[in-house]
Symmetry: D2
Subunit: 347 residues, 4 copies
Amino acid sequence: MRDRIRLGLVGLGRMGRFHAANLAGRIPQAELVRIVDADESIAHENADRLGGIEWSTSYDDLLDDPEIEAVIVASPTPLHAEMAEAAAAAGKHVFCEKPISLDLGRTYEVIEAVRSAGVKMQVGFHRRFDPDYRAAKQRIAAGEAGEVYIFRTSLRDMRSPGFDYIRGSGGFFADVTLHDFDTARWMIGEIEEVTAFGAVLSDPGFEEVGDIDNAIVNLRFATGALGVIDNSRVAGYGYECSSEIMGSRATLRIDNHRRISVQTLTPDRMCQDYVSDFVERFADAYRAEMEHFLTALREDRDPEVTGADAAAAFVLAQAADRSYREGRTISLKRKEQDGEIFYEEVG
Amino acid sequence: MRDRIRLGLVGLGRMGRFHAANLAGRIPQAELVRIVDADESIAHENADRLGGIEWSTSYDDLLDDPEIEAVIVASPTPLHAEMAEAAAAAGKHVFCEKPISLDLGRTYEVIEAVRSAGVKMQVGFHRRFDPDYRAAKQRIAAGEAGEVYIFRTSLRDMRSPGFDYIRGSGGFFADVTLHDFDTARWMIGEIEEVTAFGAVLSDPGFEEVGDIDNAIVNLRFATGALGVIDNSRVAGYGYECSSEIMGSRATLRIDNHRRISVQTLTPDRMCQDYVSDFVERFADAYRAEMEHFLTALREDRDPEVTGADAAAAFVLAQAADRSYREGRTISLKRKEQDGEIFYEEVG
Amino acid sequence: MRDRIRLGLVGLGRMGRFHAANLAGRIPQAELVRIVDADESIAHENADRLGGIEWSTSYDDLLDDPEIEAVIVASPTPLHAEMAEAAAAAGKHVFCEKPISLDLGRTYEVIEAVRSAGVKMQVGFHRRFDPDYRAAKQRIAAGEAGEVYIFRTSLRDMRSPGFDYIRGSGGFFADVTLHDFDTARWMIGEIEEVTAFGAVLSDPGFEEVGDIDNAIVNLRFATGALGVIDNSRVAGYGYECSSEIMGSRATLRIDNHRRISVQTLTPDRMCQDYVSDFVERFADAYRAEMEHFLTALREDRDPEVTGADAAAAFVLAQAADRSYREGRTISLKRKEQDGEIFYEEVG
Amino acid sequence: MRDRIRLGLVGLGRMGRFHAANLAGRIPQAELVRIVDADESIAHENADRLGGIEWSTSYDDLLDDPEIEAVIVASPTPLHAEMAEAAAAAGKHVFCEKPISLDLGRTYEVIEAVRSAGVKMQVGFHRRFDPDYRAAKQRIAAGEAGEVYIFRTSLRDMRSPGFDYIRGSGGFFADVTLHDFDTARWMIGEIEEVTAFGAVLSDPGFEEVGDIDNAIVNLRFATGALGVIDNSRVAGYGYECSSEIMGSRATLRIDNHRRISVQTLTPDRMCQDYVSDFVERFADAYRAEMEHFLTALREDRDPEVTGADAAAAFVLAQAADRSYREGRTISLKRKEQDGEIFYEEVG
């Protein structure tokens, strides 16, 4: 097996900093050698905090470094596609945060660029690496649940990230529901119909920016199974990610997490802490997805989450958006190409 | 306050026997004096088991008994309307199991018959009397949840009651989802849109009788809140009735019940019993709904669950059925009449 | 089988009122015909509330009523022995709240009086009739837990009943731990050693009345198994009664109860209600112990909880008290007599 | 702040391998440069697996390496004292697995050797670094629980490690209960009395080697609070570590962990996985204790868990052992010396 993989990382926002901290000392397969951020002080400070690694404000510095074998793209969404393509063109493997692009055509171009460069790409669907979801998926695959009848999942943020973020987010379904579409496909199988309902309930500002704050999305899987996703930007009580798979032989439930397993009992009530954001809920999953990426590179295998998966989830998010706006069910067709599944709306 | 209310009960199927056992010794406000079932041996045996009360195979015997002040109609659904009308005509108050009728027109006729006879009627929406649901409803009404964003509820039977029952059930939405429609209206408020998805997943026999075995129903409330109901005839693991109300100030969750609070730990796992049917889950609620009915009679007040509530839930069930069959959202209009809310489909 | 049992009840304190309300309409085998309390207005008011049954301030009126077959003794502890004896002498069966007496000799006299009168007596160890404890006991008896290694149980009151009560309570171990001694014997088996630790931690007033407010009691069973009981008068958060049986094949846990199964989620925390007193926790058990008593009478069987059980628990409580005061382990000897187990301290 | 700390580790048993894997890539403050095990193939293989670090069968090689600043002593217990002293003599900081020695005098000698060498030592009481225990400790320290009345804790192994291990373990109380003594002192405060009960219940082999397989240990704290510990070598269902602190203002409960948060529902029951050993339960705590040690070194602070803490827990374990063997309560006296607390039995 190969030694540690030498990595560069671009984008030191919240996810970028979290990945960088993991890669600089918590993941044995990784050697983070350079970080890049357009903001010089951010780049500098983070490099210091990580023990004095190289830093720069120029992505080209990273691409020009012949030592770097793979790039973590954690920059803002509008830069994902271009940066992933550039990394591939420089012969470097790519871990790209989702979504690859808010434009489906650009998404396909990146997939093609990666393919023709002969490098590997993994997309940031971290939930596939969460120990709970992974165990549930294995049980379903092993037939323990029998035939799946209903898949139900909740993904909710505690509070809205603010309208600046919302405006550039690609819309509710592409920004929030995207993860659930990937989880649904991964755990249960391919999807043939999407029907979405949305609402603005917490703040008219969502309407002003043409978006929503709560949604329920119905799925019909190719197997005939029914699915339902509920999402919120404003759950208030905490961050929620929990799922249920009701099958003919067993029903599986993936609970949300408690921050700590301490109960506090005061007169007449028992209380427990709840997780409040995705980094807290999915800390293990974020580490595990990086370990998966690096192990795939070291063993020269394709990562489990491909560009085609990202494209499929994005098509489903677009279908949800259209369903919501047009008030009707959207059907989907899929085709296989080079061993990958691609989706298309058919009305 | 008045003494015990003297009651007659007709129909000694599962619910009838359960109500009779409660009324004959577990509910202080009740004096069950006569039971009726078309099957002589059933009527006889149950009368014996209940300590030797009067029995008969003729409903008229019950109506002709001047001592009896109120009638519990627990007969098969096709007899509900006629028996409720006859009781009203005989000047007796009526507790009628749901649904009043599988025909909306007949439902309205019964409501009218009760009204013009000047008697009281309560319909068997027992969940309104479950201590958990009641506590949650009170908290919502007190503003503890704030504005409701999402209402989510699951009602699932462990196994199908058999195709003989299914054929006469009025269809999935009228037989199963009906309870959830009533709960949704009661807890959250009036409903303006229904979109239903159904599937036959466990047994093609459901298709043969023109019915389904699993469904997901989406609601839009007059407040704008979103709702989602999932139902199954074949959950397999047990009987499920659990709900969640996500609001701006708090989220409330009503758990399903465990049969007993004993955990069994064997190597590597911890197991708990789960409830398997509605009588087990709602034993307290069935007693409480009877106590409510009898207390209303003793205090000469209208019961909380009226014929109009039954009609509203039935219209919503019909809308779900049409939505499922036509693949589109059904909108509803409501009007107030004599202080009651009535619903109408508007396409 | 016999008809309803005609009952009288003496003592309308908290437990007496609770039993009376059950017997007057919630327990089909019972017909409560007369209640007695030394306080006329209490007797009168309760009789009214129960639908107009007979009442009196004289226990003799009850004993003289030839219709009454059995008596519920729910008077203050100092009156238990005398009233139970008088009932037996009058040929009436007796349900006696625990303890029979704070004097062991008097306890044996009552047992003998009942025996020679040929009537039946049940003592108020309600926990034996709680569905959770009963299910656990059956599983242990069926061998599901294998050989028991450790028995652990908690019984805690939310707050102290006040020093007036404490003074007449017979002391901490006789008033609180007594129930746990009975549960330990019933679930696991006979006890050979008791070592008790006590403390005054909440209020020096406990020391002034010669009592304690918290205790831990260690048991060694005849099988060699270890046991540990923790008790408190001042748990603060609520009423607690929960147990664990760790065995070679399985470990069983009996959870405490939640008042209702509703979770409330507010920012960063999830809370649930907790039970606050024994009537709330054991409402079903109190009904079930009465049903057991009445069924035993109707079927002419001995009740499951006998006077000898009460005496055994009392001897163990005395041993705990001596152990605490003398700072050493107390050993116990037991002998069988007339098919019953009796205990004796041996130092 | 200083760079990474260069470390050597001796002893590649289960804990040693686990620490080595953490130190070689999962802990950013660490640079593991050399591992030592008496078994050449074990040393060699582990060095390979960790990415090709230095290895040796001689502890002296490690001590002679001037680059190494600190040593992790994870060798068998009989070697702890000597290796810790040698490390101190070589001017290297020491992390020593518990217990330092099974001889109290030797324990004090090691503490003195470390002190006079001017190096730092941390002892492996990992539970102090578990996020749940740490959160509970902070809440207690902040007064959230009020005055503590009862401390209750369970530590149980799923199955016995085998008699070879048992023979060299120092006995049940020194091997198992030791952790609970440290936790009790750390969370609640100093201990004045210990009373222990033990039993051989699963296998007479425990008696043959002069040991026990189950125990209950009672504590009286200097504050007057009561404590109770239950321990087992043979819990059967899994590994258990859970605690409860009942206080005047609140009661805190630290739950045991589930391996994953997935519920599996099959007919009539709901099951969840349970942790089966300490590495699974305390994976985060083992990482955190190493991070704490390394951070203390980098910041030139004393680690939180000192040699005096190890000695105190060991004295308490010896007291428990004597209490069990002599059937009586053992009192303890403590004195402060150089700012540390030391214990002494006083009969």
